[in-house]
Subunit: 176 residues, 2 copies
């Protein structure tokens, strides 16, 4: 259901890696910005999918690390999950909407200063992404990864636009 399995299988599609490296790879791809890729999630996924035969242990502990590789069934499952992810539109989980829902419980002052702060935070997030978009930075991630960054930026800009629009309306007491 969540994308953790898909991500792990995808990372292991062409190489064998240990849990730590997988997590690193995902971070490189910016997956920490839009998925649950805490170490715990990764290691859990690895042991679970090994039990299910989607992965196999290529190199066991013995002082060294535990390296995983994908199996044939794992590859099939990868394709299945990937197709599903492409075809099925699933809702985006967004903590800010919960904040929005209770807008009316915040004093006007706080609302305005929180929005100001968010606006600044979002702007600097966008600024941080610029170099990646312009191809300045290519840490070895495939080129199409920039598309994730683009989409992310577009979403962020959407929130920013909402904020810029909301601020004057709150000032004029049209909101909430």
């Amino acid at each position: 259901m969540s994308s953790t399995r898909l991500l792990i299988l995808g990372v292991l599609h062409d190489e064998t890696l240990n849990g730590y490296e997988i997590r690193r790879r995902l971070e490189l791809w910016g997956a920490d910005q839009w998925a649950n890729v805490a170490f715990g999630s990764i290691y859990h996924g690895l042991t679970k999918m090994s039990q299910e035969g989607l992965l196999e242990i290529v190199e066991k502990g013995r002082g060294g690390s535990t390296v995983y590789g994908i199996t044939d069934i794992g590859r099939q499952e990868f394709q299945r999950l990937l197709a599903e992810a492409w075809w099925r539109v699933k809702p985006v989980i967004d903590p800010f909407q919960a904040a929005l829902t209770f807008m009316n419980h915040m004093p006007k002052e706080q609302l305005l200063s929180a929005l100001g702060s968010r606006s600044a935070q979002l702007r600097s997030l966008l600024a941080m992404c610029e170099p990646a978009i312009e191809g300045k930075v290519q840490y070895g991630a495939p080129r199409h990864i920039t598309e994730c960054v683009r989409l992310n930026m577009a979403r962020t800009r959407a929130e920013l636009d909402w904020i810029e629009d909301a601020i004057p309306r709150i000032e004029k007491d049209e909101l909430p």
Copy 2:
């Protein structure tokens, strides 16, 4: 960490309700589009927060339902969580980005038809929201709830724009 607690506390801020009604209320507000509000999550939150003293049982089972109300500590916690939700920018969890990440593992044909399908699905989602925005439908949700819908639509449009932009690029083999 997630918004479930905030949502439950917020719903119970001004009235006492049972688990089922809480879930209904949240659905009315569209929370199922951007939060984890499965029944299990709600009921778990209710029992947990009761144990912690944030909620109290106002009316116990006895054939009837278990009705919860918020306590003073619960109100404090609500304010705390609300402030945090407003000030701290937290990442949005988006399953589609995982799909995007492995774009290169999909044959061009499938990519194009999946995008076509998504585009249609997103358009109809947007169409469904229109009446809510124009104030045609007010099932009793506070007026500022439309702001959630607006923001949601803006995000959806961002994805749609990305798709419209990507389709020709894929056709021209500029992607992946």
